[in-house]
């Protein structure tokens, strides 16, 4: 098992830059839009995003192993674009609500459905499934392993290494202010529309 963890970790290290480049267009606008000058809050958002990614990785590992066991060596072609579309829609919807509601009314306010307060988890989840290109490399290995526990070990290593690459995004967050939040919301809207477009184009 440690050998498999290391193997996944090394794969993550070697592809971490691409993982970072793929995740940043989603995570950075969200952090800009919802982050505060208090580092702790931003760190919690980051952890929630990672938790979403981790859940996606594990689910993916499970499905890939099942597919390998069943001898199906390909994912359904609509899966990735559909995830990308949902990712884009979540981002765009959040940005639209936030921009339209102005600065006072907050979509993520405490008395609202707790689901909306876990958006970073949802974003991390759909990012983990759809956006990350190095996934393809791990996917082939999982098909070959065809063992759920081994698959989890392998992808845990992969997740740990790639998370290291994403963590520098927190470095700029202590300077987030009200204006950065406003710019972040517009960025979130543009990024949401972009991924929605990519998803639709992929589905077509």
């Amino acid at each position: 098992m440690p050998a498999l963890f290391s193997e996944g970790f090394l794969l993550g290290l070697s592809t971490g830059f691409y993982c970072m480049a793929s995740c940043l267009p989603l995570l950075a606008p969200y952090l800009m839009a919802e982050g505060r000058s208090v580092w702790k809050i931003n760190f919690i958002i980051f952890l929630e995003f990672l938790a979403g990614r981790f859940a996606a990785y594990m689910l993916f590992a499970f499905l890939a192993v099942m597919a390998g066991k069943a001898g199906r060596y390909a994912m359904p072609p609509w899966l990735l674009p559909a995830c990308m579309l949902s990712c884009g829609l979540i981002m765009a919807a959040l940005a639209v609500f936030r921009v339209a509601s102005g600065t006072s009314a907050c979509l993520l306010r405490a008395d609202l459905d707790p689901f909306f307060r876990k958006l970073p988890v949802a974003l991390g989840f759909v990012t983990g499934i759809s956006i990350c290109p190095p996934f393809a490399a791990g996917f082939l290995r999982l098909l070959e392993l065809a063992d759920v526990v081994k698959g989890f070990c392998y992808f845990s290593g992969f997740f740990t290494a790639t998370s290291l690459f994403i963590s520098p995004v927190l470095a700029g967050t202590p300077w987030i202010g009200r204006r950065a939040n406003e710019i972040g919301r517009l960025t979130l809207l543009i990024a949401g529309l972009w991924y929605t477009g990519l998803g639709i184009s992929g589905l077509m």
Binding site: A21, L24, P29, L186, T187, W194
Partner: protein, 375 residues
């Protein structure tokens, strides 16, 4: 120079100022223009010097700046863009062209390329390094003034702004709400350009490419890119004609946001005079880039997007002025010493830099026109 100074002294000061502009412009233009005949660089330098004279003699900064700025942009279109149209493009660019607007949203990619160059032992990756050094120099010299004194694209927007006598469409409250759109575009494009390792701005939004060779191969994406390119072109050409505002520069240019951020390195500012300002907000109405809003106490608040064009100074003489970090320089007596004001230091930097930079295409455009006429 105000009206209080006698005409003779004003002419003397303006003459000295224009000579000070002419000398470096002529010397450096000859280097920048390459193989173009000195006659054309001389003509270009005289044009810049004439602009300097007119500004100092009349005190109308933005009026004469706009003439110089728009002619420079027109010269760029004539020489560079039309010659591009004659060229053949066979493949989309995998790297950003050396264009300042593309440079800003491609910055992370430049850093990555530089990192790769360092890792492979080839640290001398000249393109981005040279561009970066030039940008740093420009930012230290004129900062946000680039967008109103040197940018060959901004000149189109600015020139078209002045053509309409009055706005057919008024930019309402929405304009201020969306004023941060270029900053959002910049952040988004920085990240997506890095993710895709492609110059996303050039491929999706640039209205100046005037070619379809850069566009995507797929029909749906290609159509979308066409739409965005034409929307962007409309913002550049039709927007200013309808609103008398620089719509492209204010809402779509990522370099404007980039320069608004880094422009704080530069000392020059436009600052309201609290004693003379009546709070009429005429300055906000006339600002072509919507960079003035009503601040605390109903007084104008200058946003970081101000690009020091001087339009508000003409709308409200005395109510606003050029300063160095918000402060005036000590007043000096005598017509020549009187030139040492914050306004003149800024105009000197901006006009000289703009004229030398535009010598890359200005003299060549003159030559093209002469050759076209002779034929």
């Amino acid at each position: 120079m105000g009206d209080k100074i006698p005409a003779g002294e004003r002419a003397g000061a303006a003459g000295l100022f224009s000579a000070l502009v002419f000398l470096p412009v002529f010397f450096l233009s000859a280097q920048a223009a390459g193989g173009v005949s000195r006659v054309y660089t001389l003509a270009w330098s005289l044009f810049a010097a004439g602009t300097a004279f007119a500004i100092v003699y009349t005190g109308r900064v933005s009026f004469f700046r706009r003439i110089f700025f728009s002619v420079s942009a027109l010269a760029f279109l004539i020489h560079f863009k039309l010659s591009l149209l004659g060229g053949v493009f066979t493949a989309p660019p995998s790297e950003a062209p050396f264009c300042h607007i593309a440079m800003a949203p491609y910055f992370l990619n430049y850093l990555y390329q530089q990192y790769l160059a360092l890792m492979s032992g080839g640290w001398k990756l000249w393109g981005p390094l040279t561009l970066g050094a030039a940008w740093l120099f420009i930012t230290l010299a004129i900062g946000r003034g680039w967008c109103s004194w040197a940018c060959f694209y901004g000149g189109i927007d600015d020139g078209l702004c002045s053509l309409a006598r009055r706005p057919l469409l008024k930019t309402g409250h929405w304009a201020q709400k969306l004023r941060d759109l270029p900053a959002a575009l910049l952040v988004f494009m920085l990240l997506v350009s890095l993710a895709l390792t492609l110059p996303v701005y050039c491929l999706w939004l640039c209205p100046f490419k005037l070619t379809e060779a850069f566009l995507d191969g797929g029909a749906v994406v290609r159509r979308l890119q066409y739409w965005l390119m034409f929307a962007s072109l409309a913002a550049l050409v039709i927007g200013p004609l309808l609103t008398k505002k620089r719509i492209f520069c204010s809402f779509l240019c990522p370099f404007a946001a980039w320069q608004a951020f880094w422009g704080r390195l530069n000392p020059f500012r436009v600052t309201p005079d609290d004693k003379k300002c009546t709070g009429c907000m005429a300055c906000a109405g006339i600002c072509p880039v919507m960079a003035i809003k009503t601040g605390p106490g109903g007084r104008p608040e200058i946003l970081p997007y101000c690009n020091l064009c001087g339009q508000c100074l003409e709308a409200c003489p005395g109510g606003l002025r050029y300063t160095v970090f918000g402060r005036d320089l000590p007043a000096r007596r005598g017509w020549a010493a009187g030139l040492a004001s914050a306004e003149n230091f800024f105009i000197y930097s901006a006009l000289t830099l703009g004229a030398v930079f535009s010598a890359l295409w200005g003299p060549a455009a003159l030559r093209d026109l002469v050759q076209l006429t002779v034929r």
